[in-house]
Symmetry: none
Subunit: 213 residues, 4 copies
DNA sequence: GATGAATGAGGGTTCATTCAT
DNA sequence: CATGAATGAACCCTCATTCAT
């Protein structure tokens, strides 16, 4: 429906929303500022978005794409491969690889979308708006995949445990994702504190590998 | 410097700041509301605090006390005991105990001070204000203790590794604390998603135990 | 940059700033009042001026124009004429005329812009804000012209005096301008005390004429 | 009525009112600040003064004393002397002396009480409060003396002029006082502009001498 | 498609002033 | 005589949001 000029304006508004979010933080993110820096007027902003939260939601689309590609797909691929090679437990090296890929992926995605993800994280405690839902969808996808991975091998190994296993797997997947997400969110501070990115990745991967089957 | 009546007023203001923070969230935390609910006027609030952030900072004092007592002290105690029984590596059971205590401690403290800690988490990253500093001090204490724990046994086991060990230990301690803090911060959501508090504690403890020597 | 409608609003705001300044005085000059009387809202005021002082500064533009036209130009004209008729010292009558013109001009301009000029006068001394600068620019123009006039004839008469002359001329010009400005500023009170405007003009003119060459 | 301790407190409050007036200007003169700097509390301030204006009024007492002694008395003395030596017009030298004394006196008093006098000057346009009255009393005394001086000789010289003379004398006295007061009020700025205090005094004295009989 | 202009609504903050002790 | 504590009453200013063009 939208013409080419409109598309460009919308893009510019989104870009500057992200830019200013990173520069000034969420609390100082104002429609007037976004519009001015985008070279247009506040009124124009409202032709494309209902409010700021709405614009952030639109920005989340890109994050979703990255998360799906770099995190969830990696786990799912691993699962598929394992299913094909059904018989044996997965190779030790494969798990280590997966762990490192996940750790790196989290770090990369947070480095890229940090400010945006931090806002989402924030809102997730105060209210139950659409941003909170978005966060759930984002991380739940990954954590569900990890849960599947945990269960897949559990089932294979000792198939007689019952429902406890499911809860256990879910708990562990939550815990792992929490770790990955929070380290990723604070990577800047940690690196400032004297830990290299590599050491961080390695430590995360090790924790993951220790839990994955 | 403060009289008894003043102390009481200040307390009431702090209490209601916390109360309203939990009820309405940070973004809707207003001096006028705090004052009204505390049975005083906005002007009175400003006699005790420069602004809202300042009041939150004061509230952090209590959190600090809890963290020091329930988290850091536990690790330090463990370290002291181990040092006394110097010869052998610590007992397997002791580690498991410590891990469970830490996990439980984090969950408890975050359950108690959740709203406050979530705000602190939020601000960290956006800016470098005093709240960010407070967060660092809070978690750095715990993570430093864990780092010491990791190094203490490393030295005992194979004493010839070099500086890498230190960075590795630091990275691991950061990762563990990040896990603990973030699970604790989102425990409510996780429990809503169908994981019992016990399962959560167990999963955290397991991750901890896997990493601790 | 400003549209026609905006210009009109801005004008109305300026007009009412001046009006209320005269009616209520500086200390009771409030943005809310100005806006209400101008038929708009405080928010609108702030779209055109950063604060009240800023609006006053804008109003000073008109005063500047009047001062330049009615005071400085008069002296400069006199100087030009005298230069042309180089040979002789200026006629006694010319000086008397100039003096009367200046006296009348000061009285008229202060009668017209009194409240504004009084504010400017006030601020000068307390701080070094933009209003203080404006006052200097305003009166310095006149006083510089008078200084030139004093020196022009001094040079003609006895051309060998030295640098003292310059300081003397400057001091005298300051003193004369101070007299003119202060009488003009308090003309209302003086007239209330039983002195006619004519008598005042005459007295000022006499003082001027006594000093001018 | 007031005990010794009370007197001391009152003195301290007055001293700091003046001090802060000079330091921050009238608009930023606050009861709380005065009290704090005086080492007491706002409540105490109100035990001695109804409000800030009231305190300033009290401070004006000292100014009055200086004005009476250094300005009015000088003129009156001159008048008395002249009356005694009735026959002749006053000596040329005497007038020059008087002029210089007056000029110097004004400069000195304003240098000493500048901030206070500037406030009085300010209020004298906006309203008709007690401060405005005080200003009138202050300068009217001097100007009345000068008027008497002008008339004394006029009467002596050509005793047949009529009521115009009185108005003329009044106008001239107003003009002279306005000059003296305004130069004195802005002496700081003028000196900054490169005129020495001596040159200023001389220029003022010359204007005076030219007008006085 | 874009925007100049306007504003309702409300939050932050200040300060003179008053009691009760 | 002094003051800790409290506050009513404003004021300043900002910002999301809406029209009319």
């Amino acid at each position: 429906m939208p013409g080419a000029r409109g598309q460009a304006t919308r893009r510019r508004l989104l870009d500057l929303t992200l830019e200013l979010l990173g520069r000034n933080g969420f609390r100082d993110l104002r429609v007037a500022d976004i519009a001015r820096e985008a070279g247009t007027s506040p009124a124009t902003f409202y032709q494309y978005f209902d409010d700021i939260e709405n614009a952030l939601l639109a920005l989340m689309g890109q994050v979703r794409a990255d998360v799906d590609r770099e995190l969830q797909a990696v786990v799912e691929l691993h699962l598929a491969v394992r299913e094909r090679d059904s018989a044996a437990a997965s190779q030790h090296d494969d798990i280590a690889d997966l762990a490192r890929q996940l750790a790196g992926g989290f770090l990369r995605i947070w480095a890229k979308h940090g400010p945006l993800l931090r806002v989402v994280e924030l809102q997730s405690g105060d209210d139950d708006g659409p941003l909170t839902d978005e966060r759930k969808r984002l991380l739940n996808g990954v954590s569900a995949s990890i849960e599947k991975l945990l269960l897949s091998s559990a089932n294979a190994a000792n198939a007689a445990e019952g429902p406890t296993d499911v809860e256990e797997a879910k708990a562990t997947s939550f815990v792992l994702v929490a770790m990955l997400a929070n380290v990723a969110a604070h990577q800047h501070g940690m690196i400032s504190a004297g830990v290299s990115l590599e050491a961080l990745t390695e430590a995360m991967a090790q924790q993951l590998a220790a839990a994955l089957p």
